[in-house]
């Protein structure tokens, strides 16, 4: 593929991102603008922004790569990432917004009235945020390397700089516009090329990718994780991590506070569900067509680039190069939007809980943003690729084993205590982090040990829930003092005038 089109496309995305961000700067004045866009974003704009933020490198590049390499079983990732939003909608969306908190640590402190729980949640938010940012930067390096032949660190560093400029100057207000734009850019960048690809494919006789001969026992078409030694376990572990992990991701949760009220939070989530469903129809098509037109990428270990390569290979000529440039642009929109959202979430926590004493207000938010970006960038350069979607999958497993039980039990179960919450997060977080570190070290294990560590959610999530409920029941005297008022605040519609206690802002 000709590199000049690709470089132009990437440059255009950077310029568009910065100028839309600059447009938003005019509205960003107060601390509240920076953290939560002053809670005034309507459902349509907010849903596009959430969709834009959520569809990361793993969605844009990773799914197609995994489908190309492993087949139908990998469709569980996009389905799980969408179903995760349904779980979020029914279990936490409205109460979380009504809690009136800024961040996950704010929620934890408000519900359990304990500073220790707050500190612990802050550490977890930063850890999950970094684990999720790292593959974004790695993906950017990979994508820029594919189109422009640059070193692996260049793409990640460029994305980091653009994100920092936008986040530091405009905060949540301006990022909301940027991310809404990026959702539609990502959808277009996959939709237009796929039409051309399907025309070429049907012109070539429309051979089904499922009918290719080197596929013994129908492995590619099975929905079970047949590449693993224990397909049933692995499949259900992926399902559990993705279904329950979404609600615990820091950048997803922080978005809920930008809704005006709980009802709007619910309606926004429903629109997000539809937008995600629309987008996720497309990447698997690239993976399936890649099996016919770019099978060499599997042996080259470069399946993550199939979305970038396929248009120029299948269509050819200038048209093919332009279409490949379009998918490259979409990929960079994915890196930028997800990294921006994560940076905001991590910076918000860092500035409130770590840097707040040294800097004030917006200044401390900006200092937090720098720390939030630099550490995962260094990690991305040091730790060579685990595969974009796999690394993101691990972040989901940690989130599902820590914040999911905290949110679900905190919202629906009155007897949760601060000691129980900490114990549950220590057990769930500790076990899943051990598994993550083991996977990142790429120690190859066989049999059950390997399966359990590569996909830890199926045992760490139940362990976290059991510990949290068990320890809470053992410490019944530690119920928070304002429990009843907190429950009124979380569950009653705002239209009913009730005493909900003081709100933070």
């Amino acid at each position: 593929m000709s590199s000049s089109y690709g470089i132009t496309a990437v440059a255009l995305v950077f310029i568009a991102t910065l100028s839309i961000g600059a447009y938003g700067w005019r509205f960003s004045r107060t601390t509240s603008d920076f953290f939560v866009a002053s809670r005034t974003v309507g459902p349509a704009l907010n849903a596009s922004a959430i969709g834009g933020e959520y569809l990361s490198a793993a969605s844009f590049l990773g799914i197609a790569g995994l489908v190309l390499a492993f087949g139908t079983e990998m469709l569980w990732y996009p389905v799980g990432w969408t179903a995760g939003y349904l779980m979020l909608l029914v279990l936490v969306a409205a109460p979380l917004r009504r809690s009136g908190a800024y961040t996950l640590p704010d929620f934890a402190e408000g519900r359990l009235e304990s500073l220790v729980v707050r500190r612990f949640s802050s550490v977890l938010v930063v850890g999950i945020g970094w684990l999720y940012l790292m593959p974004q930067f790695q993906g950017a390096g990979l994508a820029l390397g594919t189109v422009a032949g640059t070193e692996k660190w260049v793409g990640g560093a460029l994305v980091a700089v653009v994100v920092l400029v936008n986040v530091m100057s405009g905060g949540m207000r301006s990022i909301t516009f940027v991310q809404a734009f990026q959702y539609w850019l990502k959808l277009t960048a996959l939709l237009i090329p796929v039409m051309f690809l399907l025309v070429v494919w049907s012109g070539d006789g429309a051979v089904s990718p499922a009918d290719l001969s080197p596929d013994p026992h129908g492995v590619w078409t099975s929905p079970l994780a047949s590449s693993s030694d224990h397909p049933m376990y692995t499949t259900y572990s992926i399902i559990l991590a993705t279904f329950l992990g979404t609600m615990g991701l820091p950048h997803v949760v922080v978005r809920f506070y930008t809704n005006p009220d709980g009802r709007a939070a619910r309606r926004t989530t429903l629109v997000v569900l539809a937008l995600l469903g629309l987008f996720y129809l497309l990447p698997p098509v690239y993976g399936a067509l890649g099996r016919l037109y770019a099978p060499d990428l599997i042996d080259a270990g470069a399946t993550d680039t199939v979305v970038l390569e396929l248009p120029s290979r299948m269509v050819g000529g200038v048209a093919g190069d332009l279409l490949s440039a379009l998918t490259t642009a979409g990929a960079f929109a994915a890196f930028l939007s997800t990294s921006s959202g994560l940076t905001i979430a991590v910076a918000g926590v860092l500035s409130q809980d770590v840097l707040g004493r040294r800097f004030r207000g917006v200044r401390s938010f900006q200092a937090g943003a720098v720390v939030a970006v630099v550490v995962p960038l260094a990690l991305a350069i040091l730790a060579e690729g685990v595969g974009v979607a796999r690394a993101v999958g691990l972040a989901f497993a940690v989130a599902a084993s820590t914040f999911c039980p905290l949110l679900v039990l905190g919202i629906w179960w009155r007897r949760l205590t601060d000691v129980g919450a900490i114990a549950g997060m220590v057990v769930g977080g500790g076990l899943s982090v051990v598994a993550v570190v083991d996977t990142l070290m790429q120690t190859s294990r066989d049999g059950w040990g390997g399966a359990l560590l590569a996909h830890p959610a199926a045992w760490t999530v139940p362990a976290a829930f059991v510990t949290m409920t068990g320890v809470s029941l053992l410490t019944p005297r530690r119920l928070p003092r304002h429990l009843s008022r907190t429950m009124v605040r979380l569950h009653t519609p705002e239209a009913v005038e009730l005493d909900r206690g003081p709100y933070p802002l």
């Binding site: 139908t72 469709l75 969408t82 939003y85 029914v90 099975s222 259900y236 989530t269």
Partner: protein, 127 residues
């Protein structure tokens, strides 16, 4: 009705003897909730239980509808060979059909959850 040209006669309050005895006490629910009485708690618990029941129904539907797929492939290995419109069944379900199903579940949930909240608001604010 006033008689012409004079001061109106003093009004006399005419009451039935029963009213002082049997008038039902009006309960103002919001203040019951605010002062966290047993009754106020009952209202909140009722709302929470209704919303939780709804959430559980959706989660169970999701678990059976989508989560049951791997299990059914294990139990009925023949499903591997089933084709719909030339595509493997699993691909049709996970690649296409799952998304409208999720959106439909979400839409039904939002409608029902808002209805629960409306019922709660009406019950609480009934004069």
């Amino acid at each position: 009705m006033t008689p012409e040209g004079g001061n109106p006669p003093r009004r006399v309050r005419v009451t039935s003897p029963r009213t002082t005895a049997g008038r039902p006490r009006r309960v103002h629910v919001p203040s019951e909730i605010d002062s966290q009485t047993r009754l106020g708690e009952l209202y909140i618990r009722t709302l929470m239980r209704a919303q939780l029941r709804l959430a559980v129904i959706v989660v169970v539907t999701l678990a059976i509808g989508v989560g049951g797929l791997p299990l059914s492939y294990l139990l009925f290995p023949g499903l591997d060979q089933v084709r719909v419109l030339g595509m493997p069944l699993a691909w049709v379900v996970l690649g296409f059909a799952a998304y409208p199903f999720l959106v439909l579940l979400g839409w039904l949930y939002v409608r029902a959850a808002e209805r629960n909240e409306r019922d709660f608001a009406e019950m609480v604010e009934r004069p």
